[in-house]
């Protein structure tokens, strides 16, 4: 690269580099530093040990996993057949996508607030279910595990669905035609052609959705029992930071959060590689 060109590239990228280093890399290092030191600034692993040995805190990892994993699996398993069905486009696609992005755009706080009334004892959901004689007295949808799970599905499903749809509709439709002319049944085509080509997208959507679910915060507070069964790891981190004002502990929890997310993603990637060779997601043309 010529010197002049290098200068242009460097100068125009400088703002982004500064942003990235000071607002992302530095806070991360700062957090890592905080988590490994005590108030006197001495190196220590005490923060991690304290979190992992205190059952009240350590348990949040399991609580969060118990919410995040089922929510992720449900989202992916519901979204997959729907995205498969919609892969060649469908009537009213624009309207459907608009309705689907509504809960994503409005965000978890608004959805949680709405769910509290809509799914409450006098809410429409219970009224409808009772009118349909599915239940005979109001069912408790909120202030429990179910409430948080439902919130994660309402928020996560459209995200997973639209992402899976993006990946599957990127698979060249002539591949299916070619396979069917060669004698393959629908199920065979799905198993041998679509699924392997879709796998990178499924892995991506699963990982991202899990990471979102694992860091659930407002839904767990507003729709669950934040001091009991839905005391997720984010709540623990928040409480250490802003109720006990111990940023050392809070940063340690944030690091643990990041590690769990990383481990989950690695497991997903491992499964993917174990069963499927990595392929380019673009279609048959080279």
């Amino acid at each position: 690269m010529k010197k002049r060109e290098f200068l242009t590239v460097f100068l125009l990228l400088l703002p982004v580099l500064i942003y990235f280093i000071f607002l992302f890399v530095y806070p991360f290092i700062y957090g890592l530093h905080l988590s490994l030191t005590n108030d006197e600034g001495k190196f220590t692993l005490a923060n991690f040990i304290r979190f992992l040995t205190d059952p009240w805190d350590a348990n949040t990892i399991w609580i969060t996993l118990k919410i995040a994993i089922p929510a992720t699996l449900l989202n992916v398993l519901i979204a997959m057949p729907l995205a498969y069905y919609m892969r060649h486009g469908i009537k009213g696609e624009k309207l459907i996508s608009f309705l689907l992005i509504l809960p994503i755009t409005l965000g978890s706080v608004f959805v949680a607030e709405g769910m509290l009334t809509y799914m409450g004892p006098n809410g429409w959901l219970n009224k409808i279910l009772m009118a349909l004689k599915i239940i005979d007295k109001p069912y408790r949808f909120t202030h429990n595990y179910l409430g948080v799970l439902l919130a994660l599905i309402i928020q996560g499903f459209p995200f997973v669905f639209l992402m899976l749809l993006g990946y599957i509709s990127g698979i060249d439709p002539t591949l299916e035609k070619a396979a069917s002319i060669l004698g393959a049944s629908r199920w065979y085509i799905f198993r041998r052609i679509i699924f392997p080509l879709w796998m990178p997208g499924i892995a991506m959507a699963t990982s991202l959705n899990f990471v979102m679910n694992f860091t659930v915060f407002p839904s767990a507070v507003l729709l669950g029992q934040p001091s009991g069964p839905t005391r997720v790891i984010s709540i623990a981190a928040y409480q250490w930071a802003f109720e006990k004002f111990d940023f050392h502990m809070a940063s340690a929890i944030a690091i643990i959060m990041g590690l769990v997310e990383l481990i989950f993603i690695l497991i997903v990637m491992l499964i993917r590689q174990r069963f499927f060779k990595i392929v380019a997601t673009s279609g048959g043309k080279g």
């Binding site: 035609k177 070619a178 002319i181 393959a184 052609i193 279609g283 080279g286």
Partner: protein, 369 residues
């Protein structure tokens, strides 16, 4: 092996929305024939191919193989049960499978024993000269090699009918000619009945036993390459197969397959070919105006016994073997000539030319496309 006598497509109709993209398509294909559907893009040729494959539902008509109904709108054999083969324009190779697995795909579904699969795949790959690429992935192959893989995958299952959808259009010019030759050789060798779709008249002429020329969903002409090339039935076919110099003329009189007409200030004669007499005679009997067309290479330079004209040259192109002349006759009618004669002309030069009367094609006006 491919034990049927003929494939019969009758009154095939297909709509996209309100638009009729295939209008009463009728064609009978004999076992072993190489048929080409030729036409510009949007003429319905790919739709017909997909209908035959069973990839899209038809809106009317029927497709039979001998007495076996493949599709008549009610009875429908799905594509995977038809035992056809198809090569797609973009080849549609499975990107996550090796060349071997791509070719073996159809054989695995048919549950052949592994040893036979291996043998057949290698045979097919040998036929397209790809043995050494057997373990590569499609993205590691060149365009031509991908094309060959697609072809091998198509022939390996010994299909009853082979459908080729513009298979050469994504290749560069040299490779296209080479692959054309290979396609022809494979067809000669295996004798698989083939329907080939293309917009390239050269490919159609070179490969086919018979050509079906299509426009706007309608059949324009069915015939051997020779018939189509020399005796197009209407202006559309003529133009599509390289006839230029299409002029509107005033009829003076018509007699026994000879027509005298006025082109600008010139009086010219045309002699109708035997093949045409009937067809054209009926349609032009009372016409005052007609269209005529002459291939650029059929116009001769020099003084002729009849049909002599004077041309003002505007541009001369040197094309190696031939020279292409562009200019005007009668002041304002554009004319295009190609000649082997080694002449050198400058813009503005006037030359004598003549048109052999038997080379002139005559079309009634309603043929205008």
């Amino acid at each position: 092996m491919k034990d049927f006598k003929e494939i019969k497509i009758q009154n095939l109709v297909k709509y996209y929305g309100n638009r009729k993209v295939v209008d009463n398509f009728n064609l009978t294909i004999k076992n072993g024939e190489f048929i080409t559907l030729l036409g510009p893009s949007g003429c319905g040729k790919t739709t017909i191919l997909n209908s035959i494959a069973g990839l899209i539902p038809i809106d009317g008509g029927s497709i039979y193989i001998d007495d076996e109904c493949i599709d008549d709108g009610k009875r429908f054999i799905p594509p995977e049960k038809r035992n056809f083969g198809m090569v797609f324009q973009n080849y549609a190779l499975f990107p996550h499978l090796t060349v071997f697995e791509n070719v073996a795909f159809g054989l695995r579904i048919r549950k052949f024993p592994p040893s036979e699969i291996r043998e057949r795949v290698i045979n097919a790959l040998r036929m397209v000269h790809l043995e050494e690429h057997i373990d590569k992935y499609p993205r590691q192959l060149s365009g031509g090699e991908q094309q060959r893989t697609a072809l091998a995958r198509c022939i390996v299952t010994e299909p009853r009918l082979m459908l080729l959808d513009e298979p050469l259009s994504n290749l560069d010019a040299l490779l296209r000619i080479e692959m054309r030759y290979e396609l022809k050789a494979i067809h000669e060798k295996l004798g698989i009945t083939t329907i080939y779709v293309t917009h390239d008249q050269q490919e159609a002429l070179a490969l086919s036993d018979r050509i079906v020329v299509l426009n706007k969903g309608k059949i324009q002409q069915i015939g051997t390459p020779e018939e189509i090339y020399s005796y197009p039935r209407n202006l559309f076919v003529a133009h599509f197969l390289g006839f230029r110099n299409i002029w509107n003329v005033d009829v003076i009189h018509v007699k026994d397959g000879e027509i005298e007409f006025k082109l600008g200030d010139f009086i010219l004669n045309a002699v109708l070919n035997e093949k045409y007499k009937e067809h054209i005679h009926n349609s032009i009997r009372d016409k005052k105006k007609l269209y005529i067309s002459i291939r650029p290479e059929d116009i001769k330079i020099g003084e002729g016994p009849i049909n002599s004209l004077e041309m003002r040259v505007e541009v001369m192109e040197y094309l190696g073997q031939v020279r292409q002349l562009w200019g005007y006759i009668n002041g304002n009618l554009r004319i295009e000539i190609s000649t082997f004669e080694k002449i050198i002309l400058n813009p503005g030069d006037k030359i004598k030319i003549y048109i052999p009367p038997e080379r002139i094609l005559v079309f009634p006006e309603e043929d205008v496309q």
